[in-house]
Amino acid sequence: MPRQISFGDAPLSSRFGGRQPVWDLPIRLVHWLLAGLIAFSWWSVEYHHTDWHIWSGCAIVTLLLFRLLWGVVGSSTARFSSFVRGPGAILGYLRGGWSGIGHNPLGGLSVIALLSDTALQAGLGLIAQDEDGIYAGPLAGLVSSDTSDRARDIHEVNFYVLLALIALHVAAILFYRLRGRSLIMPMITGKAVLPRGTVPMQPGRWWIALLCLAVAIGVTRWFIAGAAPFGP
């Protein structure tokens, strides 16, 4: 249980509107599957299971494509338009002048950084090849052998960038926890206790989620097949 924050003399019941939806199921699934698959990707390549590593990367590509689409047509808190904000909004948040649900303006930056660096990492993996020429990403045929080698080198270095971003993400969660707010439980249950009067989440439609998923799978399979007609 997160420690309750007291607001002066006001009874908590009048300030909080009970547990309300914050994160929809697709967002939570994408989040935890990404966390799990990134860990699995590291493990599989570290222990020489390069084929599993490539499959895991392709699954990550599917999740990222889904997340991109859901960020445009999904629930209100999933939409990029709801949390990608300018420096003014970030400063305003730091001064305490922000109320809302979902990613705050600063957290939104972290989400963009994490998603784009994971996308960069997956993209590099798609065109990379291993140093022995045994394994290659499904799109390696679109670039030269030297480019594939360079992509692998950057893929290796960028993993540390991704680790640093993940460390920052976890540190921020700990920071909020120490200040009495648990961010982990809402990402599991989808619900959080919010101040009364907060604009509620507008849930997306389940069939649109299925449609986004179908498109994400379709594009991934097209990549896996070598992205004809651009393929070798």
Binding site: W55, T62, L210
Partner: protein
């Protein structure tokens, strides 16, 4: 119900990825791994260039001779790697250049024969910069068996390339790759660039 549906479909997204990036991870069917490797030859400089499966010459070398062996090994491995990469690109493409595939297969078989002389004792990481692990000289029997597996896979791949039978070429190329991997996973360190 709705949630369950979404959960099920996201799970299938993951499965979709298992449908198939094409990796040459054919079942590891290295031939004759059960054969006991012949004991390492002791005479120095008995390298073979015939491309036949022979036990590696693991007699000790030192000084300039060690440096020469390490240099040859590095260049040879790099050459095998480059050739394999080019072969994979050809074989993954819609219309492989079969002349290039045959040339590459012959080159790898030739280099696999030369590999017999690349692992003299005294050419490990204690002597110079190399990815060769000390375990090579601690498990000589196993190492010799793996090297022989590579040589036989190279020979089989070359034979397939000469036959021109596309499915067999792909299978043998996959097996060749696995024979590289079998040794590298165990006997090559990550710090070898």
């Amino acid at each position: 119900m709705r949630n369950a549906l979404i959960a099920a479909t996201i799970a299938s997204a993951l499965l979709s990825a298992c449908g198939g990036p094409q990796t040459s991870s054919a079942n590891n069917t290295q031939s004759n791994m059960s054969d006991t490797a012949s004991p390492p030859a002791t005479a120095q400089g008995s390298t073979t260039t015939q491309g036949n499966a022979t036990a590696p010459d693991m007699s000790a070398v030192s000084g300039d001779q060690a440096k020469t062996v390490m240099h040859e090994r590095h260049e040879g491995m790099e050459s095998i790697g480059k050739t394999t990469k080019a072969l994979k690109r050809q074989l993954d493409s819609a219309s492989p250049d079969m002349a290039a595939v045959s040339a590459g297969a012959a080159q790898i078989q030739d280099l696999s024969g030369k590999a017999t002389g690349w692992f003299h004792a005294g050419t490990g990481p204690d002597v110079g910069k190399t990815g060769a692990k000390p375990e090579i000289w601690q498990n000589q029997q196993d190492f010799a068996a793996k090297l022989r597996g590579f040589q036989e896979a190279a020979k089989a791949f070359n034979a397939a390339a000469m036959s021109g039978d596309a499915p067999s070429i792909k299978t043998k190329f996959g097996e060749l790759g696995q024979s590289c991997k079998a040794c590298h996973d165990k006997y090559r360190s990550e710090m070898h660039h």
